[in-house]
Structures are given as C-alpha cells and as structure tokens.
Symmetry: none
Subunit: 221 residues, 4 copies
C-alpha cells in the first residue's frame, strides 16, 4: 500500500509507528499548504511548526531535515495520485474507456490539488539526486498505469502505433496543464468540461479534414 507516512528513506527518531504516521501527516498537511502557497524556500520550519500546531523541535523527531519534509510532501501527493488512478481504472473493461477513466482521474487529482501540482514542478529540483530518484520512481509507477491503458488500446486496434512514451507525455502534460496553465482558461470552465474537451482533442486531433490529412511533416527535416 502506498498511502502511508511510513517510509524507508526518511527516518524518524520516534519509534511508535502510529505516532510517526499521525505526526508526519500533520506536518505534511501543514507543509502542503504552506509550500503550495509560497514555495519551498520561503517557508520556514518555524512556519510549518506553527501551522501544524507543534514546536519546531518536534519536526526533527520525524524528519531528518527540511528537505525530507519536502520529499514526503511530494511523495504523499504521488501516492494519492497513484491510488486514485488505480481505483479509477479498476472497474473499467473497455480499453478506451479505461484510458479515459485514467486520464480523467489524473485531471481530477490535479484539480483537487492544484497547488501541490504546481509545487511538484517548482520544487522537484530542490531535492538532491537521491531524493529525486524516489520521486521519479513513483512518477514512473503512475506512468506505467497510463502506459498500460494505452498499450491495451493499441492491442485492441483502437489507437494507432504511436510511441507510448509520447502518448503518455501528452496525457500527463494535458492533465498538468489544468493546474500549470490555469491562467489560460475561463473561470467558468469546469474540470469535467476540460476532461471532455481535452480528451476529445487528444484522441481525435485538431484537424477538420478527417482521415488522411496532408501532413506537413516533410517540411520538418
């Protein structure tokens, strides 16, 4: 199971696992809020402690340093992300509907967690290489879920033989865009509408001339 504050790469001084879980959740909740609003560097440990309603020293009983707080903050979101996507595709059998369900789940996670999504982009590079690896691994696991959906569609002959990496990048980018480029969209524009529109665009493309449109690729090379 992914969604726990236990972690083999972030160590705590406190031994009671339930307490570790509870306190870390408390601290991460405060961190998500503050990091999301103001970014990693402008938020101090004291700010987090105050927001969490505990003393500064206590944070260091559950995290080795500030960077570990960021790490678990980013990981927690990815855990929820993965869980949501997993649940979303569990009940779907039709390949294309499965893919749609996965994409919709991604968009919804982004929507309910816009700040955290932005934070992920802002702060990933604030982690040192070894911590980045943990985040990337989780990111790849999520990606594998999407890739699987795409692969099923391709096997069913529903999607043409495009590079799966490219398709996944496409899907992820569009989901993230809902948070990262929110300035582009009208206030009234809802996630549901966005999911519908963007999935339509992703699947059917932009061109009006159906079927074999005159590709401008030859120009490229």
């Amino acid at each position: 199971m992914t969604g726990t504050m236990q972690s083999d790469f972030v160590t705590a001084q406190v031994e009671n696992p339930e307490l570790v879980d509870r306190r870390r959740s408390q601290i991460v909740a405060a961190a998500v809020k503050l990091f999301g609003d103001r970014g990693y560097y402008t938020v101090t440990i004291k700010d987090i402690a105050k927001e969490a309603g505990i003393s500064t020293g206590l944070i260091y009983q559950y995290f080795q340093n500030k960077e570990d707080v960021l790490l678990l903050t980013l990981m927690e979101r990815l855990d929820r992300y993965k869980d949501d996507v997993t649940k979303a595709i569990a009940s779907e059998v039709d390949p294309l509907q499965r893919l749609h369900a996965a994409y919709a789940a991604c968009c919804r996670v982004v929507d309910t967690n816009k700040e955290a999504t932005v934070l992920a982009y802002r702060s990933f590079r604030s982690l040192d290489p070894s911590r980045r690896k943990h985040v990337l691994n989780r990111e790849r696991e999520i990606n594998a879920l999407l890739a699987d959906c795409v692969r099923h569609c391709q096997r069913a002959g529903l999607i043409r033989g495009i590079d799966i990496n490219l398709v996944c990048s496409h899907l992820a980018s569009m989901a993230h865009a809902w948070a990262l480029q929110s300035w582009r969209f009208d206030r009234g524009y809802s996630v549901d509408q966005y999911i519908a529109d963007s999935f339509d665009l992703l699947t059917k493309g932009m061109l009006a001339i159906d079927c074999v449109p005159s590709s401008p690729q030859t120009v490229t090379t």
Copy 2:
C-alpha cells in the same frame, strides 16, 4: 522591439543606457546559467557577480534587488522566444505550415534552452504578483502568435472548431514537455523527430479508427 535590457519596470541607478544594456546582459547571462543549474534560491548574488566577473555591489547599480535579476532573466528568454516564433512564421503563408513552423520554433527554443524552460516553471512563483504580471503579459503575447496561427487554420477550415485556448495550451504543453519531461524520452530521440511526432499526434489524434470514433465523453459527467 523586445530584445533589450532596457526596461521600464526594472530601474537602474546608472544613467548611460548602453552601459545599462551591456551590464545587464552580462549579469543576466550569468544568472541564466546559474539559476538554470541550481535554481533561484540556492544561487547567491555573490555567485552571479563572480560568474559575471564583476563585484557584488555593481549588480545593485543595475537591479534593485535579486528578484529583479530573476525577472529580467525570465523576460529575456521570453523575448528570444517571441522573436524566434515571430521570425519562424514570417515567411510561411499556408496556414497549417505556419502553425507547424510556430510549433517547431517553440520546441527549438525549448530545446536550445532546456534549463531556462525548467527555470521558468520553477521560479515564476518566486516573483511577487506585480512582477508575475510582466511575465504573464509577455507569455500572452507569445500565446497570441500561436492563437493567430490556429485561428487562420480554423478560418481556412483546416482545424475544427475547438476552443483556441485549449489548442494553444496543448501546443505549449507539448513544447515544454520536451524539457520538463525529458526523462521520458530516449537519448537518441531528436528534437526534429519529436517535433514531427508530436505535431502529427496533435493534429491527427491518437485514434486508429479514422473519422467519427465513438466518443467516451458521455461517461465523463
């Protein structure tokens, strides 16, 4: 013209405009390199001064504070971005080829400037609201260029009546993905290939069943 270090929102203590231009370029060049590598907060003014080969004090003759250095650093990239896209579409007349040229230009700017692209995502929120506005305005100008291309295609009946904002978001996201999600792509995969593949995907969509595919939209709501 955009590509100058003169700026009405960042003021200098030095009066000679040429000098301002030269010094600011020198400083911004150093900042681009360092911010790109290590991010805004971990780079010090001293680092920038050393990289630029000047004294720390001098930076404050041309910028009011560190945040202004970041602002011009981000702006400079957007200026180049805009110039490149402008030049790219200048010679194209066919609407779709124009769009392709614009998109390709975006991808190439991203490719030659991956670090700066990542920096933009990381550091935009480190700016205060008034400075963000300047960046967003420039971003919108670039977006307008793309939007114009799309509009032309739509008027020519080449692109179907999808919301232009959505299409532009799509285009921008994919261009940025080349830098932001570079971990997804193989080392051997070139920008040119990426441009070709992603533009094909963007325009024609993912579906194998051409023309009217059974849309899964109804599931969404």
Copy 3:
C-alpha cells in the same frame, strides 16, 4: 569511605539509596566513557542514556542536570585515585619508599585511566564555582596524602627543605604528564619504566655534577 555514588551535594529524586547508587554508577560509567572520548559538551544526555541503556528522563531522577553528571564523573575518578594511593602507602614504612609507592600509585591511576585524566583537565572549568570547590577539596585530600609522604621524608632528613607545595606540584605534574603529554613518549615506553625514570629524575635531579652545582639562580632575580 569515598567510593560511593551517594553524595550530599548532588541530590536525587529517587529515595532508595541502593538504587541511587546502582543507577548513578551505571550513568557515570557511561559518562566516563563518552566524556572521555568526546568531551563534555559534545556528548548529549541522550548519548549517555543510550550508552547506559536507560531513558533520558531517568537521568534526571538521579541528577539535577547535566553538570551534576560531570561532577560525579570527575569525583568518582578522584575517589578511586584517593583509594589507590591510600592503599599503596598503607603497607610502606620507609619514608622514601612510601613516597615512591604514592607516586607510583598516582602514575598507575593515570595510566589505567588516561581519558579520564585528560577529561579532568578539559572539563574542570565547565563546572560552576560551587561544584569546582567539591572537586578541589577532593584533589586537596589526595594532595595531602602526597604532602604527608614528603613531610615524612623531610623529617627523616631524606629530602631537603624544599617547599612541600612545590614538590607536590612537581609529583602531580609528572604523573599527569603521562596522560597529557603521551605524544612525547615512544609507544614501547611502559608506565613502569616511566615511573622508575621520572622518580629518579624527580629525586636526583638532572645535573651530572653531583653535590654543589653552580646554580644559575642568581641570574633570575
């Protein structure tokens, strides 16, 4: 008797005297080891608790604060010191042999407890004045044992009428030097040899010309 962990200047919260004795010994044993290795300030109460196999809170049941742990740590060594010297001279009757036995005992205590000897020098001043007094008193008691030996020798006409304080300082310095200046001596050089050589030097002096050497004292004043 000196060698107990009961103490009228360090108070405990626990009433059972045997328990106080046992726990204090346990804690002081851990403290000796850690303070000896790393000094007073770099060792934490937590370190001591862990080394002693107890909880941090328990230390405060037997000591009022960290400084008291140091005090008893220093005192314990002095207690052993005093006991050893007392025992060593108990069986000797010949004044000079008594003195020799006392000096040899000092050197051996130092030798078996080099770290603690160094600690005493390092950390005495970390105590507040009132605690220092306790250490100094014990130190003076030990000194009195030596002084007594010297006095006996003088009365027996074996030692000339030098100021006893000076002689004692001399003896103590040389004994301590075995730990404090161990870098001066070869690895193969044994305590026994050191005792023999240094006592010979102390008693007979450095000069080759026996009897009345041309003293350079007149130069001094």
Copy 4:
C-alpha cells in the same frame, strides 16, 4: 616569521592581507579573552563579535567556522611562546644558563597568559584531528628548542644521560603547572621565585643526600 595572522590552513574571504591580519588579530584578541574566561563551548560567535566590536557575519569573512577561530587562538599563543623562547636563548652561551633562560621564558609566557595556557589544555581536544596536527607541530617546534638546550648541556657533561623527552616533559609540565595548578601556590609567591625554586628542584632533585643516593628503583618492577 611565526607571529602573523596569515595562515595557509585557515582561509579568509577577504583578500587584502593587511586587513586580514588586523581583523583576525582583533577577533582572536576577543576570543582569547572570552575563551580564556569561559571556555570554547560556552562562548558564542555573537559574544566574540560583540567583544571585538564587529558584526557576527564579519567573523565568517575571516574564519571559515568557529573551530578555526579556536585554532588561530591557540596558534597565536604558541607563536608568541616560540618567539619568546627563541629570543630568550639567543643571547645565552653557557649551556646551563641557556637552558635556564629557556625554562624561565616558558614560565613567563605561561604567567602573562595563564588563561590561554589553561585554554590550551581545555580546548585542544575540541579541535578535529587535522587542526590538532597544526597545533602539535608548533608545540613540537617549541619542544625542539628546549630539547636542543638540554642536548647542549648533556654534551657539555652538565646533565646526565637522561632521556631528553623525559626532561622536556618535565620542564614543560613544571612551566604549565604555574597556570594549571595555581591553586597550590600562595598569592604572594612570584613567578620569579617559582622559576628559581622549580629550576633548582628540576636540576638538583629533591634528595638531601647528595651524590649517589640509594635509589628505590628496584622496588618498582
């Protein structure tokens, strides 16, 4: 020349060598006073800055960290020590008088700098191994001066064939004792008297029976 604040093992951010010299002297002077009174660990960087009349940040322009302040503080005393001894023996030709001059110089350095002498004993072990090496090297240089005097005396047949290390240890211990064991001596007792008395003791020994006294060495083993 030894007595300068330039140092190849402690680096400064400031380049002007005279300034480095002046500021370091200023800081070390404050540190000597405070460390001497209260020890290394209980004195804060802020204390030193205040005592020196500068800002805390400035200390870090001239020292990399607090430990380096301690290092130079200890080194400075050793430099003066070495200079004083060197000067003292420069004019003496008679081997024994040379030795006496060296010893007297040692005692006088200790006397005018009691706190610093105590500090050296207290704080040497607060240095990390590489820094200790620097101190020990200087200490060995000073020791070499003494050893040289002793050797001359031995060659002249004035001192018997005792191990030179032992003799030097003896001399150094007695000199240091003037500061370390000052509690033993009466207030009225002067350095000059101490030098005279202790040198007499060191050279002629304690025994009243001149010449070949019955050595108690055989008892030792």
